[in-house]
Symmetry: C2
């Protein structure tokens, strides 16, 4: 059987494994190459530096939730419910990541702290999805904007207003039962603020 | 001149000085007593342990903003504007603390992390002020609650929805100019969510 081709995806998966095993402080490109049975030069052909590799694996991790959220953003049906579903899906995805594998979550928190550009790009993408739902809702007369604002500004306000339910800084609260009524109360307030 | 009597307030002021000079890891009750020119036994007569002293100084620091906020909460005039003023005053007080003396702010962040009960009590007090404004607004027909909620629940939702503008976890954002339009957009959304 010929060896599997060395794709960026295989390298990123191996990188996640290595990060999980050695932690973010100790994991090196040589560890990743060894895990794949290739030379570190082969890894560098795909990712020119350790920093580039760490950024790419962070981006991949952050983007895992995009596809599912984007599907909700583009779904049919009333936009107020869709906005709520989207916020609930985001919160569920974050809770699952933080609670399912807390050590890997902590590792990615360290990595995200190193790559603010990657994180900003990720936030722009998801806030863009929010703006898309809001804009559609305004167009259909199901939602309305606070006076003198634009969908993009209001989308960012919705993002900021719900930060307790997606910002990893609050991950320790997410296992507590009281987080669910708190989420419902903020959603109700925000949706009402959008006339929904 | 007789020596100044040793009051809890004098001890707490000296404790803040000592914390500022030595940092939260090194500051001891003996340092505080030395700064006051008294025995450590005299300090222990007011605060039975180092932990009790640290909690008291944390509470004093957190409560510094209460008086001003409470005055706004009880002021005359339309409640929507008052709610906005209250949120703006809270944000301004936090920004001043974080930006004015970042080292002392960091010190108090360490202390607050040790005293979750003190922090919870502080949050209960300020969220209580929010609930008071909201309740008054509902009574006067100036504000209204999302369906099936109570003023206390909605007050907590307003607190959660504005966390980017009072939670020290976001202190690094507060020096950026873009924080002000972000604050305005969240306030507009929240006030509209309260029918204000």
């Amino acid at each position: 059987m010929p060896p599997e081709p060395l794709t960026p995806d295989r390298i990123l998966e191996a990188t996640e494994d290595v990060l999980r095993r050695f932690g973010p402080a100790k994991a090196t490109v040589v560890d990743v190459a060894r895990a794949l049975g290739v030379s570190h030069g082969s890894v560098y052909r795909h990712f020119p530096s350790k920093a580039a590799l760490r950024e790419a694996v962070t981006e991949r991790w952050l983007d895992q939730s995009h596809a599912a959220l984007s599907q909700i953003a583009r779904a049919a049906g009333p936009t107020p419910q869709r906005l709520r579903d989207w916020l609930a899906a985001l919160f569920a995805a974050k809770r699952a990541k933080a609670g399912g594998d807390p050590e890997l979550f902590a590792t990615y928190m360290v990595l995200a702290g190193e790559s603010s550009e990657v994180v900003d790009r990720h936030i722009d993408t998801v806030v863009g999805q929010l703006a898309q739902i809001i804009e559609e809702g305004v167009g259909k007369g199901e939602l309305s904007l606070p006076a003198d604002t634009e969908p993009a500004v209001t989308a960012r306000a919705v993002w900021d207003a719900t930060c307790r339910f997606h910002d990893p800084a609050y991950a320790t609260d997410w296992g507590d039962e009281s987080i669910h009524p708190a989420f419902d109360a903020v959603c109700a307030l925000v949706l009402r603020g959008l006339g929904g």
